[in-house]
């Protein structure tokens, strides 16, 4: 059974996407990855609406104080095994928002991160590459 689950996760990772207080540029680039030019769905990547259906959490944004507890809650609601991709420089380290009082600075301050994807904003190709690398990592065990 484990190998069937692993196989389905590798073939078709389901993504949950969350924004934690970003400027929107990374958000629209992640959405552009869904659009016909980049089209992640051909890799079996599906965007889901609920944390309980997702394997991978893609997060953008530098994490504002108000959003931090919700980010943690979403992460906890996801079933194991779960992976987190920090998309964009703000999600990685706070990015351009240094010195802004309401920003925690990077999602690894709140939840553990599997993969960091820099870019301001992150390119859709980089997001797809990140998911592809994640699949390769899963395949290799």
């Amino acid at each position: 059974m484990t190998s069937v689950l692993a196989w389905s996760r590798i073939r078709s990772p389901w993504i949950l996407y969350m924004c934690t207080g970003a400027c929107n540029a990374c958000d629209i680039e992640v959405l552009a990855a869904l659009a016909p030019k980049y089209d992640v769905e051909r890799f079996g990547i599906l965007l889901k609406g609920s944390p309980r259906h997702a394997d991978v959490l893609v997060v953008t944004g530098a994490v504002t104080r108000q959003v931090a507890p919700r980010l943690k809650r979403i992460y906890e609601q996801m079933p194991d095994p779960k992976f987190v991709i920090a998309a964009g420089t703000c999600a990685t380290s706070g990015g351009v928002y240094w010195g802004c009082y309401n920003v925690l600075g990077g999602i690894d301050k709140v939840i553990p991160v599997t993969m960091y994807v820099p870019g301001c904003p992150v390119r859709p190709e980089a997001v797809i590459d990140a998911v592809a690398k994640l699949i390769a990592k899963l395949k290799s065990g």
Partner: protein
């Protein structure tokens, strides 16, 4: 150019409110800053609204000048061609000023924002609650005041 001439508006205000118009300065071709006594804020805004159709409030800017807090009401007439920026000062320790929401309903969120970030109390505002700071932000701490220092790591 607006049907309303900025120099004309300034001169008219100085006639209508003698000795209460403290200063004025033109900012480019279509904007003017006018400093007034805070006691006549309501009257000046009503005057500008009734006579010159300055009903569009763009926003209210609050600045901590260390010895006082300056509020700038950025107003525009219905044809939006000019900006008349009315400046008043309120005391930093007891920053109260009458709300202008009864005259300009569009100001409702701008007053809340200034209240949140600088602690100015707009008397008569229908609901001066938190607008943008998080729920767990400490009371009495106003981030846009100069004594609030941000740690830069």
């Amino acid at each position: 150019m607006s049907t309303f001439n900025m120099e004309f508006i300034v001169k008219d205000l100085m006639n209508a409110f003698p000795n209460k118009i403290l200063d004025y300065k033109f900012d480019g071709a279509r904007s003017v800053f006018i400093s007034i006594d805070s006691g006549i804020l309501h009257d000046v805004i009503r005057y500008l609204k009734d006579r010159y159709d300055l009903k569009h409030i763009v926003t209210i800017t609050g600045t901590d000048l260390l010895d006082s807090i300056e509020l700038i009401y950025h107003l525009s007439p219905l044809d939006r061609r000019i900006l008349v920026n009315v400046k008043v000062k309120v005391s930093r320790d007891n920053p109260h000023i009458p709300s202008v929401v009864s005259l300009l309903p569009g100001a409702v969120l701008y007053e809340r924002e200034v209240h949140d970030l600088l602690g100015v109390v707009f008397d008569g505002h229908p609901s001066l609650e938190r607008l943008i700071l998080p729920d767990d932000w400490p009371e009495g701490v106003y981030p846009l005041r100069k004594d609030y220092k941000v740690e830069v790591k």
